[in-house]
């Protein structure tokens, strides 16, 4: 019988006037994998931060191995054996991998007191190889891929004999293949009796990995069940508090219309090469592939952030060689980037600013934006796209991920563009907002817009797209339609394996 490792008893936490967590109980046994789910704002991250010592509870008790534990700081939690990998990876980009791994520990010294770099790198190499990671510890951390960064995070978290590992949305920026590598690591840890609290929006992952699922809603723990005894529908119902259809919307009925965007052997090495496809009005074309296959890079070239070096692009039948993004926006082509925090939004701006910046040139009269007109347009957009904020003057940073994403979409869609490129539109977005974004995408296609959808979420891209292009190593290796659009086929093509059932576009 496994014994309780961690026990939370009536834990509460408020920030300002907002009760982030109400009377929460939680129990985690040794070697158990507990999935923690809930919509954004349900209190998952708060709970994680209480256990890991970033915040202290206002009320309630945390027991660790049966004894009362007061985690006053992250350092304290680490010492106790609680390792946490936060959603925003805590790293130092300009330092080496080894320094990142060992920054919080004491460093080996030479006999006259200086840092023994050789020993430091050696130690780092040992820790990495413990997880079968072949990452050079002398490399600058910035230069690692997202998956490698994640793996270094795990290696670091577990380097101090952790008994409990907390992962907050670890797969948000990983491709399917990288996720499965992560799961291999986690399964090995579970076998070594390490308990894991796994926070995720991806329910299929939890189904695979967890022993038990705990559902948080509005700061309360509303349900807890063994993973085997439940199904995804029930989890979703408990998360949102109402039944939610898991099917992807498909209101569009008409066949795709005339071609609006055509690429012929578009190339910009080493980012992508020989990419050809046609995008028609009223259709959603999915662009699948692993992270690093060149999907976003291709999208950015179409949007005019850098030119292609050979091949040809046509927009509305005419040659398309934009000199910059402004030209693309004027021509009716918009790109909604994948990293909304870094590439799309200024977190301190208000919702109003964030939306009106996309349409300000149309609102302006004599160089001045009439506040009333601006507010009307912004409020209309907020209503139409279901952006939930207390007021248009709320800072973007205080909104949930889903609402941030909707704001970003609203910014551009108010211009009525004809071609829309969406890059990972639902990454890190909770399930309710996700469904709304899906409905929005479908509506846009119904209105005759041409949509290029980039997503690493396989069910999403399969469910939403009319056709699928799969990229591998910088080029489109396969186009899937109809019955050939299956998870297996996408995964095979995306990992560069030949497909018998598909028709490769390029030989």
């Amino acid at each position: 019988m496994a014994r309780a490792l961690l026990q939370l008893d009536g834990v509460e936490k408020a920030f300002g006037g907002v009760q982030a967590l109400k009377q929460t109980d939680l129990e985690v046994d040794e070697g158990e994998v507990v999935g923690l789910i809930g919509e954004n704002g349900a209190g998952k991250s708060t709970l994680v931060k209480l256990i890991s010592g970033v915040h202290q509870p206002d009320r309630g008790t945390i027991y660790w191995l049966g004894k009362r534990l007061r985690v006053m700081s992250p350092h304290h939690a680490t010492q106790a054996g609680i390792a946490t990998i936060h959603q925003e990876l805590a790293f130092f980009g300009t330092l080496s991998v080894a320094e990142n791994l060992l920054m919080a520990e004491s460093w080996p010294r030479t006999f006259w007191g200086g840092t023994d770099w050789r020993a430091l790198f050696h130690e780092a190499r040992n820790r990495l190889s413990h997880f079968d990671l072949k990452i050079d510890p002398e490399k600058r951390f910035d230069s690692l891929s997202s998956a490698e960064k994640q793996e270094v995070a795990i290696a670091r978290a577990l380097s101090q004999d952790a008994r409990l590992l907390i992962l907050d949305e670890p797969t948000a920026s990983l491709s399917e293949q990288e996720v499965s590598r992560l799961f291999d690591h986690l399964k090995r840890l579970r076998n070594a009796r390490v308990a894991i609290i796994y926070v995720s929006h991806r329910l299929d992952e939890l189904k695979q990995l967890s022993d038990r699922v705990v559902v948080l809603r509005d700061g309360e723990c509303v349900a807890s069940y063994r993973t085997q005894e439940t199904d995804v529908n029930r989890m979703v119902r408990d998360m949102v508090g109402r039944p939610l259809e898991q099917v992807y919307p498909r209101g569009r009925t008409t066949a795709p219309g005339r071609p609006v965007l055509e690429l012929e052997a578009a190339t910009r090495r080493p980012l992508f090469h020989d990419v050809s496809f046609t995008l028609r009005t009223g259709e959603i074309v999915g662009l699948a592939g692993l992270v690093g296959a060149g999907r976003s890079e291709l999208a950015r070239a179409i949007f005019g952030l850098y030119p292609i070096t050979s091949g040809q692009m046509l927009l509305f039948g005419k040659g398309w060689a934009p000199r910059g993004a402004d030209e693309a926006v004027r021509a009716g082509l918009v790109y909604i980037p994948e990293e909304r925090k870094r590439q799309g939004l200024v977190m301190d701006h208000s919702v109003r600013d964030a939306i009106s910046i996309g349409i300000s040139d149309r609102l302006t009269r004599w160089g001045i934006i009439p506040p009333k007109r601006e507010l009307e347009r912004v409020q209309a957009a907020m209503g139409r796209y279901g952006i939930r904020a207390r007021s248009p003057d709320d800072p973007i940073g205080t909104l949930s991920g889903g609402n941030q994403q909707k704001t970003l979409i609203a910014r551009w869609l108010d211009r009525a563009p004809q071609v829309i490129i969406l890059d990972e539109p639902t990454r890190g977005v909770d399930i309710g907002a996700k469904a709304e974004i899906h409905r929005l995408i479908d509506e846009l296609a119904q209105q005759g817009k041409a949509i290029l959808l980039i997503s690493s979420d396989l069910p999403e891209i399969l469910g939403m797209s009319d056709r699928l292009l799969v990229m591998y190593d910088g080029t489109v290796v396969s186009e899937l339609t109809g019955e050939r659009m299956t998870q297996e086929n996408v995964l095979l093509a995306a990992s560069g394996m030949s497909l018998n059932t598909s028709s490769p576009i390029h030989q």
């Binding site: 790293f91 840092t115 230069s143």
Partner: protein
């Protein structure tokens, strides 16, 4: 430099500055008129550039942690006032030197303390410090010297030892110590870590406030030596006017040396070479007969040109980095 800790960007900048410095020295050699000795130019370089390098090391330390100190020149002025007042009252030289070092260190620590506790960005705290400490320097002089008329005379050669005779040696010793510390010390790496991400430090259980304070502590020591050399070279200390605009010259040397002005990356070595580079440019211009007006403008243009060139060459690399 040890085990590739300095990545290619910084190594490239350091080679570039080394080559640039040698080129400028060659140019000075060519421009030198009959009767002037090149050896003398070299011998004078160390003491002349010492305050800039030492204050540059101070600035580099605080920029590493993601802060900045715009009040360095005013702090040196306060140190100068303290020194001058004690000289005026015939205190023994070692007490005057100590007061100069201590004043700089205390004010630097005070800056760190204010930034840490008020949680106000360093650029604002030290921008306020700039006129405040300048005023403080004048107040100290005014209170300490009965008929203070704007400057404090220091005639006795006994008070000029550090600036006039040992400046080169103090500089050399500090440079060696700083480079060794940078190569083998852990603290500078923690500064860089905080400069990268304060939040990450906190999540790892490090104490970002303490790291910030330690950078201002080290900066205070460097600044103390800079003040000591700057002050003891003068026959007349003018607390209200000495080193006006010095802080931007220093930031220029630091940035030229490849240190990211927003923190998180850079090197002491780069700052040292950057300071020499700016010094040799002004020397070359002097020997070429350019007017002082031109020298100022050209110095600014050179900072922009060097950094601009460096970025232009590697823009493609940067673009690829951003995509990755």
């Amino acid at each position: 430099m040890i085990h590739g800790r300095l990545d290619y960007r910084h190594r490239r900048r350091i080679y570039f500055l080394l080559a640039g410095n040698l080129l400028l020295l060659g140019l000075i050699r060519v421009l030198l008129k009959e009767g002037s000795s090149f050896a003398e130019v070299l011998r004078r370089a160390g003491p002349d550039v010492a305050p800039v390098i030492l204050a540059g090391l101070a600035m580099t330390s605080v920029i590493f942690v993601g802060a900045i100190d715009l009040s360095v020149a005013s702090i040196i002025a306060v140190a100068g006032s303290a020194f001058g007042v004690l000289v005026h009252h015939d205190q023994p030289p070692w007490i005057c030197y100590f007061a100069c070092l201590a004043a700089a260190w205390v004010l630097s620590m005070w800056n760190g303390y204010l930034i840490r506790t008020l949680k106000i960005p360093a650029i604002i705290v030290t921008l306020a410090g700039l006129p405040f400490y300048r005023g403080l320097a004048l107040i100290v002089a005014d209170l300490g010297i009965p008929d203070f008329g704007g400057n404090i005379s220091v005639y006795d050669a006994a008070y000029h030892q550090p600036g006039k005779f040992y400046a080169g040696w103090i500089l050399l010793a500090t440079i060696i110590a700083a480079l060794i510390w940078e190569a083998f010390g852990r603290t500078p790496r923690q500064w860089l870590a905080r400069g990268n991400s304060e939040e990450a430090c906190r999540l790892l259980g490090m104490k970002p406030e303490r790291i910030l304070q330690s950078a201002f502590c080290a900066a205070g020591i460097f600044l103390g030596f800079a003040a000591l050399i700057a002050v003891t070279r003068l026959q007349a200390i003018e607390p209200g006017r000495m080193l006006v605009g010095f802080e931007l010259h220093i930031v220029g040397a630091v940035v030229l040396g490849g240190t990211n002005i927003f923190g998180g990356e850079g090197s002491f070595g780069g700052t040292i070479l950057g300071a020499f580079f700016l010094y040799f440019i002004s020397q070359a211009l002097t020997y070429a007969g350019a007017s002082a007006y031109f020298q100022e403008a050209i110095t600014g243009a050179v900072i922009l040109a060097v950094i601009g060139l460096d970025c232009a060459i590697h823009r493609r690399q940067k673009q690829l980095d951003e995509l990755a």
